[in-house]
C-alpha cells in the first residue's frame, strides 16, 4: 500500500518527462493525483502495515497530513490543466513591468509537480529522521524549477533566495539529525536507531543536553522551511512570484510537511521529558511569527504577498497551538486542515484575478464581481472563512 503511494507519483513523474504531447500528459497528472488520493482514502478504512522495517508507516499524524496534501494536489492538478492551457495561448507579458518572457517547458513543470508529490509523501510517511531529512531537502530542489516557471528576473530572484535560504536551513536541521544521533548513542557502543518508534520507546535513555540541542536545530532548520519568523524571508518572495497553483501547494502542503518534521522532533523531545522546554520554544517562535506577519501585512499592496504573510501568521498560530499544549494541540491540527484548504483556494483565486487583471496591486483590482463574478465570490468567501477560522481557533 505504502509502496503504491510512493511509486505512483514517481513513475508518473518519469513518464511525464517522456511524453511529448500536452493532452495525455495533463491527463496523466490528474489521474496520478486521483489514484494517490484514492489510496490515501482507503488508508482511513484500513491502516497499511509499515514497510522497510518500520522506516515508512502511516500513523495518525501522517494520515491527517497526507489527506490534506492529496486533496490539495488533486485540486491543483485540475487547476493545472486549465492553467497550462491558458498559459500556452496567453501573451506572456510580465504583470509588473510589461516585459516579455517565455515559460519553462511544460513537461518539466508537470514532472517536477509529480516529483513534489512523491517527496512530500516520503516526508510525511517517513518514520526515520534521516529519511525525513533527505526527502525534505528533495522538496526544496524539485520546487525550485516550479517557482521559476515564468522565466523572468523577478521569479529568478525569488528562486535563488528560496534555494539558498532553504538549503542552509535544511543543512542546519541535518546537524540536528547528528545531534539526535549523538543523543541516541550510549557508552557501550549500542545506540538507538533513528526510527521514531524506537526513539519513543527508548526516550528515557536519550542524553539530555544533546536532545535539547537537537530540538533547537530541528526547529530552526525545518522552521526556515516552514516560514517561522524571523526565518521566513524567502516565503513572501517565492509565494508571490510562483505560478498561483504552485503558491497554493507551497502554502497549503509544503509548509505542513515542514511542520510534520518539527512535530516528529517535538514528539521525541517530549517523550524524553523536555516537554516544557520544547513548548516554550514553539510558543516563542509562534508569537514572533504572528507579530512579524501582522506588521508586514499592514503596508502590503500586492495581494499575493499579503496572502504569503498571512501564511506566516497562520504558521505562527499552528506553532503556538502546539506550544500551548492540551486542547490547543487538537485545535492546531483542525486549524492546519482549515488553513491549508482555504489558503490554497485563495491562491488559486488570486491566480484567476491575476490572469484577468494582469496586476498584483490590490488597489488596482476594481469591479471584481462584474468582471469575473465566480472567482470574485469565492475570493470573498475565502477571506471570510480565513477570518472565521482565526476566531474559531481562539476559543
Amino acid at each position: 500500500m505504502i509502496w503504491a503511494l510512493l511509486f505512483i507519483p514517481f513513475a508518473a513523474a518519469l513518464m511525464s518527462l517522456l511524453i511529448r504531447i500536452d493532452g495525455p500528459r495533463r491527463t496523466l497528472l490528474v489521474s496520478a493525483a486521483v489514484c494517490h488520493t484514492a489510496i490515501t482514502a482507503t488508508c482511513w478504512i484500513h491502516t497499511p502495515s509499515p514497510i522497510l522495517g518500520g522506516w515508512f508507516a502511516v500513523d495518525p499524524l501522517a494520515q491527517l497530513f497526507l489527506t490534506i496534501t492529496d486533496v490539495l494536489f488533486l485540486a491543483a492538478s485540475l487547476y493545472a490543466t486549465a492553467y497550462l492551457g491558458a498559459e500556452r495561448h496567453s501573451q506572456n507579458d510580465n504583470a509588473e513591468e510589461g516585459l516579455f518572457f517565455v515559460n519553462a517547458p511544460e513537461a518539466a513543470f508537470t514532472g517536477c509537480l509529480l516529483m513534489f508529490l512523491t517527496t512530500m509523501t516520503v516526508v510525511i510517511t517517513s518514520q526515520n529522521f534521516g529519511m525525513l531529512w533527505v526527502a525534505m531537502e528533495a522538496t526544496t530542489l524539485v520546487t525550485a524549477p516550479l517557482i521559476y516557471f515564468h522565466r523572468h528576473h523577478r521569479s529568478l530572484e525569488a528562486t535563488w533566495k528560496y534555494l539558498l535560504i532553504c538549503s542552509v536551513g535544511i543543512a542546519v536541521s541535518l546537524l540536528g539529525n547528528f545531534f539526535l544521533a549523538i543523543a541516541a548513542s550510549a557508552d557501550n557502543g549500542e545506540s538507538i536507531p533513528l526510527v521514531r518508534s524506537d526513539l519513543l520507546a527508548g526516550a528515557s535513555r536519550l542524553w539530555a543536553p544533546w536532545i535539547r540541542a537537537a530540538f533547537i536545530f530541528f526547529l530552526v532548520g525545518y522552521g526556515t522551511k516552514m516560514g517561522l519568523a524571523p526565518l521566513h524571508t524567502w516565503l513572501p518572495d517565492a509565494h508571490s512570484e510562483a505560478p498561483s497553483l504552485v503558491s497554493a501547494l507551497l502554502s497549503g502542503a509544503l509548509l505542513n510537511c515542514a511542520f510534520v518534521g518539527i512535530l516528529r522532533a517535538f514528539e521525541v523531545t517530549a517523550a524524553a521529558g523536555h516537554t516544557a522546554f520544547a513548548r516554550d520554544l514553539l510558543a516563542l517562535f509562534g508569537l514572533v511569527s504572528m507579530t512579524f506577519a501582522a506588521v508586514f501585512m499592514i503596508g502590503q499592496a500586492d495581494y499575493k504577498r499579503m496572502l504569503a504573510y498571512s501564511s506566516v501568521e497562520h504558521i505562527g498560530i499552528l506553532a503556538l497551538g502546539v506550544g500551548l499544549g492540551g486542547a490547543a494541540v487538537f485545535g492546531s491540527m483542525l486549524y492546519a486542515v482549515n488553513h491549508s484548504l482555504t489558503k490554497a483556494a485563495l491562491f488559486m483565486v488570486s491566480g484567476n484575478i491575476l490572469a484577468a487583471y494582469k496586476t498584483k496591486t490590490a488597489g488596482d483590482v476594481r469591479g471584481l464581481f462584474l468582471t469575473i463574478p465566480h472567482p470574485g465570490c469565492y475570493g470573498r468567501q475565502g477571506y471570510w472563512l480565513l477570518q472565521a477560522f482565526r476566531r474559531l481557533e481562539y476559543f
Partner: protein, 204 residues
C-alpha cells in the same frame, strides 16, 4: 585536519574564484579520504569514499568551473566584508569552535580530539562565506564548505548513521549544486552579472 583548517583560511582570503574552487575540491577530497584513515577498513566504507571523492573532487569543481568559463567571471570584487577582515575572522572562529567543543560532553569517545572543533570551524566559515560574499558562485562554494563541515561532524558519529542515509545526503547535495549551477547560469543571462546584491527588487 591541518589541511582542512588551511583550506578554510585560503577560501576566506582569496578573491580568485578559480583558486577557491580548487581549494574547496581539495578539502572535499581530504574529507572523503578521512573515514578510511580513522575507521577500520570495510568494503562498504570504501564504496562510499570513492563516491564522495569523485563527487567532491571531480564533479563539483568541474561543474562550477564550467559555469565560471561560460560566464567569464574570475574574481570576487568588493565583498561585503574585506579580505583582511575575513582572514582575521578565521582564527577568531577557530578559537570559538575550540571553546565550544571543550564544553560539549560527548557520550562516546571520538577518534580524534581535533575532529569536532575543526568541523565546527568549517561550518562557521561556510556560513560566513554565504553571508559576506556577493557573487552567486561564491555563495554556492560557501554552501559546499558548510556541507563539508557537517560531513566532518557526521564522521565523528559515522557508526551511528546508516550508510543509505549518507548516500541520500550526498545525492541531495549533488542535485542541489546542480540546480544552483543552472540557476546561476540563468541569473547571468538575465542580468549580465551574478552579483546577488542586485537581486533586491522583491522587498517588504
Amino acid at each position: 585536519m591541518v589541511l582542512l583548517i588551511l583550506t578554510n583560511m585560503v577560501v576566506l582570503g582569496s578573491s580568485r574564484l578559480r583558486v577557491c574552487i580548487r581549494v574547496v575540491a581539495a578539502q572535499g577530497v581530504a574529507l572523503g579520504v578521512l573515514p578510511l584513515l580513522i575507521h577500520s577498513f570495510e568494503p562498504q566504507l570504501l564504496i562510499f569514499t570513492v563516491l564522495s571523492v569523485t563527487l567532491k573532487g571531480i564533479v563539483f569543481p568541474y561543474m562550477l568551473w564550467r559555469t565560471l568559463r561560460q560566464l567569464n567571471v574570475w574574481r570576487e570584487d568588493e565583498p561585503y566584508v574585506g579580505y583582511g577582515l575575513s582572514l582575521l575572522t578565521g582564527p577568531v572562529a577557530l578559537g570559538f569552535s575550540y571553546w565550544i567543543s571543550t564544553r560539549l560532553p560527548m557520550p562516546f569517545s571520538v577518534h580524534s580530539p581535533m575532529l569536532i572543533p575543526v568541523a565546527l570551524f568549517t561550518l562557521i566559515v561556510g556560513l560566513y562565506i554565504i553571508i559576506s560574499r556577493k557573487k552567486a558562485l561564491t555563495q554556492v562554494l560557501g554552501y559546499l564548505v558548510l556541507e563539508n563541515g557537517i560531513y566532518a561532524f557526521g564522521m565523528a558519529i559515522a557508526n551511528q548513521q546508516p550508510l543509505l542515509i549518507e548516500l541520500g545526503i550526498l545525492l541531495d547535495v549533488f542535485v542541489g549544486v546542480f540546480v544552483m549551477g543552472i540557476a546561476i547560469f540563468h541569473i547571468s543571462r538575465q542580468f549580465d552579472h551574478i552579483d546577488t546584491d542586485q537581486l533586491s527588487i522583491l522587498r517588504n
